[in-house]
């Protein structure tokens, strides 16, 4: 529930990163040579494979661990992962789809007001940190949710967390704090 505000805040999920295992050794050269949309990086030892339908990019290691990123929702991530596994299966590897786990979710949200970062940092001293020389945003880390919120002075915030639920909770938690430190609007 978007408490205490008239308009609903749009939390837009921009990136979902998930990992899974194929439980079998993969020959990266075969994948590189026989797949379309693949980039082989021999120095690092992985293959990047990009799918179009759920627009995801996957890093494939020869141990069978795959990281799939670029999806816009958890279900999409799962679908993309399964597609990936299917295409690997077609290439001839004995692929099994196991240990699918969403590892990171990135969402952006825009407040209807601007925020005074220095005030915000002062009020939330140890949890928030602001280093203008390094990064224009103030970073607020919510430990028990394991989520990080980056607050920009324009009022946009980006939230990263281990799953969509934690991201939503983080936004709800931080909204009142931001509301206190908003910049008064002049026009």
């Amino acid at each position: 529930m978007d408490s205490s505000n008239d308009e609903a805040l749009d939390i837009i999920i921009t990136n979902v990163v998930a990992t899974f295992r194929t439980r079998c050794h993969l020959n990266l050269r075969t994948i590189a040579l026989e797949g379309t949309n693949v980039i082989y990086k021999p120095e690092v030892g992985k293959v990047l494979m990009k799918l179009r339908k759920p627009k995801v990019t996957a890093s494939i290691w020869s141990s069978g661990k795959i990281i799939c990123s670029g999806a816009t929702s958890e279900d999409e991530a799962k679908l993309g992962a399964r597609r990936l596994a299917r295409s690997l299966q077609k290439l001839g590897f004995k692929v099994r789809f196991s240990d699918f786990k969403v590892v990171n979710v990135l969402a952006v949200c825009s407040m209807p007001f601007a925020i005074h970062l220095i005030d915000f940092t002062k009020k939330n001293r140890p949890i928030a940190s602001y280093e203008p020389e390094l990064h224009p945003a103030a970073t607020y880390r919510i430990k028990h949710l394991k989520a990080t919120v980056q607050v920009f002075s324009t009022g946009s915030i980006t939230v990263t967390g281990p799953n969509v639920q934690s991201v939503a909770t983080a936004v709800e938690q931080i909204y009142p704090l931001l509301f206190e430190c908003q910049k008064p609007r002049y026009n």
Partner: protein, 701 residues
């Protein structure tokens, strides 16, 4: 020097001569003190002519305990190390601090921070230079000195973000909240570098006012303070008739040209920029502005809204057109003769193909589906490229949904809708949105449709459960995965060949390297010197040797270290345990040992291989009691030799000392047996200190 009275004459005039170390009474000449202890620094000459002060430096904050050899050895080492670390850190801090022209007070504070960090184990895993830089910067921030992180990174030649990370971690751990950076702090420093001469102060003051104005106009949040300072200084320099180009300012302030320009344009947008110079100096505008990025954001929002409105209008207009089109089409369809049989078969093929392509234009490579799709597209009055599932969905919604859920519609749309639903997060009511858009228009498609409806519903409901189950079992759930589409991701034979050729050409260097590596490994394997992987084995930690006598300790150490490869240590062990019993068993082994020992005892040619095979009677009387005593002790001796040699060791030292010279030739039997047992001790001594005989043997190891 407290003046004392002379004992003989009672006079108080006492002359203390430091060079002679005497205290002499001037009255009677009695020497009161001799060899006075002086506390002066003495120098000794070192090899090469240099002179060094005598003595050791003791660090002020070290505990001062001397490391004890023996028992407390390890604790002593630990403390020393800490002292060393601190001393190193202090040195580095001073070096860096002086490069930055920081005063001593700051350096001391920085050192305190370092000590705190050390106590919290924060120096582990980080370059010490990074940690020190972070401590220094923390001091700069708390004191408010005009030092930037960039300066520190310049000195260290390290990426400023890495330093920043370390700094943030440090400040978090130490719970020190550095106050936010004020750009006003930097103005004097930059002004200095820009060399304004006498008017330095004026320019600085103007620049300060400008920066304060910028702050009130919310230009400084989220920006590098140096950028703001640069812009302010540029303007104020111009105001005071100094020609400072942007390039000069960039060199001093270390921001990019475009950044400076941006700040200037932003400042231009504020009402303050409209004031003249005099007005600015006198008056301070009360109104404040929104931050520039905020205004930019607002503009974007407005544009976006405009777009949406236009879009809506367009959609409305299109809707009307479509209504008319549909009506016309339905009329036409009713008039058109419906082909069955051949057409139906053809149509069915099309249906399958279309479901493969799932109506997205990108995949439109097949000719057959082209026709179908194009027909559909034309029907909806749009280009093929614009035909997206979303559009279809919209259009579907507009049609009377739910009407005529006729079977034919399902089969075609099944796949697409499943994907839609999955993407939309699993919708309920699988059959709800089956608007008969395409089929009803283009003719009934008798695909395997009647099965579609219940299947889709069950799939939608059971979607989540299936997925979870599949994950656990490791089986790949093919739900919603389009095999045909996947095929697109794989190349066929000829393409593979082409790609292989290309790839080989592209990566020829890398492949060559790999081949060379393999060849090298193969060669090394042949030669037998191939090392699998050079892993730095952290040297095997040996337990501290606990022994009550020096000899015991030596013996134990030898056991562990196995210094000599010529000596068969196992036999030595047996020696101590049971010298007399089972000589037969030990006969072969000692046969080996004497030959091994031979090189070490080159100066003793008359060495009969007696050792253990010889009956005790041949041994000198001296040793008999000791040797016969040993077997009785054997059961108690579960621990290795120590006890036994301890017994033998006591009288041995004396004989060892006696025999340290090559004098042993005459005492053949007894002493040689003695020497057998002493052998370890002797050779240990040789190795540790002596080295008089047996040099050839031992030093081979």
């Amino acid at each position: 020097m407290s003046s004392r009275t002379c004992r003989t004459c009672g006079g108080t005039d006492i002359d203390v001569d430091a060079s002679r170390g005497n205290a002499v009474c001037m009255g009677c000449g009695a020497v009161l003190e001799d060899n006075i202890i002086v506390s002066e620094v003495e120098f000794v000459e070192s090899g090469g002519g240099g002179s060094h002060a005598v003595g050791q430096f003791v660090s002020g904050d070290a505990s001062g305990t001397n490391p004890n050899f023996g028992e407390g050895y390890y604790t002593g080492v630990g403390k020393e190390s800490r002292a060393q670390t601190l001393a190193n850190a202090k040195r580095n801090i001073s070096t860096m601090g002086h490069q930055l022209q920081m005063n001593q007070h700051c350096l001391d504070t920085a050192f305190n921070f370092y000590k705190m960090a050390l106590n919290k184990h924060m120096t582990r895993g980080r370059r010490s230079s990074h940690v020190i830089a972070a401590c220094l910067y923390l001091v700069c921030r708390t004191e408010g000195t005009p030092h930037m992180l960039l300066d520190l990174s310049d000195i260290l030649q390290v990426n400023v973000y890495i330093l920043g990370r370390t700094f943030l971690v440090l400040s978090r751990e130490l719970c020190i909240n550095a106050p936010a950076l004020d750009p006003c702090l930097y103005i004097p420093r930059f002004a200095q570098l820009l060399e304004f001469g006498e008017k330095n102060h004026d320019v600085s003051m103007t620049a300060l006012r400008l920066v304060q104005r910028m702050k009130r106009d919310w230009m400084h949040t989220g920006r590098r303070p140096s950028g703001l300072c640069g812009a302010a200084l540029l303007v104020s320099a111009r105001m005071h008739d100094f020609r400072r180009t942007i390039k000069e300012i960039v060199a001093v302030v270390k921001v990019c040209e475009s950044t400076l320009r941006k700040r200037l344009t932003e400042f231009e947008d504020t009402p303050t920029s409209q004031l003249t110079i005099e007005q600015f100096m006198r008056v301070d505008l009360t109104g404040e502005c929104d931050p520039p990025s905020f205004t930019a954001g607002l503009q974007k929002k407005k544009l976006h809204q405009l777009e949406l409105e236009l879009q809506k209008k367009m959609d409305d207009v299109e809707d009307e057109i479509q209504c008319y089109q549909d009506e016309i089409d339905t009329e036409l369809e009713n008039c058109r003769p419906k082909l069955k049989g051949v057409y139906a078969a053809y149509a069915r093929e099309d249906g399958v193909d279309n479901s493969t392509s799932s109506s997205e234009a990108e995949v439109a490579g097949d000719e057959e589906e082209d026709e179908e799709l194009q027909a559909v597209a034309k029907h909806f009055g749009k280009e093929l490229s614009e035909l997206t599932v979303e559009a279809l969905r919209e259009l579907d919604d507009r049609r009377p949904a739910g009407a005529a859920k006729g079977g034919p519609g399902e089969g075609r749309e099944e796949e697409e809708d499943e994907e839609e639903q999955e993407r939309g997060g699993g919708g309920g009511g699988g059959g709800g949105r089956k608007g008969p858009s395409l089929e009803s228009i283009l003719g009934p498609m008798p695909t395997a449709a009647s099965l579609g409806l219940p299947e889709t519903i069950s799939r939608c409901i059971g979607d989540e459960k299936e997925n979870d189950g599949a994950a656990d079992s490791g089986e790949l759930d093919l739900n919603g995965i389009d095999d045909g589409e996947i095929e697109w991701y794989l190349l066929n034979e000829s393409e593979v060949k082409v790609k292989t050729a290309l790839w080989m050409a592209e990566n020829s260097d890398y492949l060559k390297e790999q081949k060379e590596k393999e060849a090298k490994i193969a060669k090394e394997k042949e030669l037998g010197i191939y090392k699998e992987k050079k892993r730095k084995t952290p040297g095997r930690r040996r337990d501290p040797i606990r022994a009550s006598t020096a000899d015991e300790a030596i013996e134990k150490m030898l056991e562990q270290k196995r210094i000599s490869s010529k000596i068969n240590y196992d036999v030595l062990k047996d020696l101590n345990i049971r010298p007399g019993a089972s000589p037969a068993h030990q006969a072969p082994s000692p046969a080996g040992t004497p030959t091994k020992k031979l090189p070490s005892r080159t100066r003793r040619p008359t060495h009969t291989p007696l050792s253990l095979g010889t009956p005790l009677s041949t041994l000198g009387k001296r040793l008999q009691p000791f040797i016969t005593g040993l077997p009785a002790k054997k059961p108690a001796l579960d621990q290795p030799p120590p006890a036994a040699p301890a017994v033998v060791a006591d009288p041995v030292p004396s004989s060892v000392v006696v025999e340290s010279g090559p004098v042993v030739y005459d005492d053949a039997a007894g002493d040689e047996d003695d020497e057998e047992e002493e052998e370890p001790y002797v050779s240990a001594m040789q190795l540790m200190g002596g080295g008089e005989y047996g040099c050839d043997g031992e030093y081979d190891d």
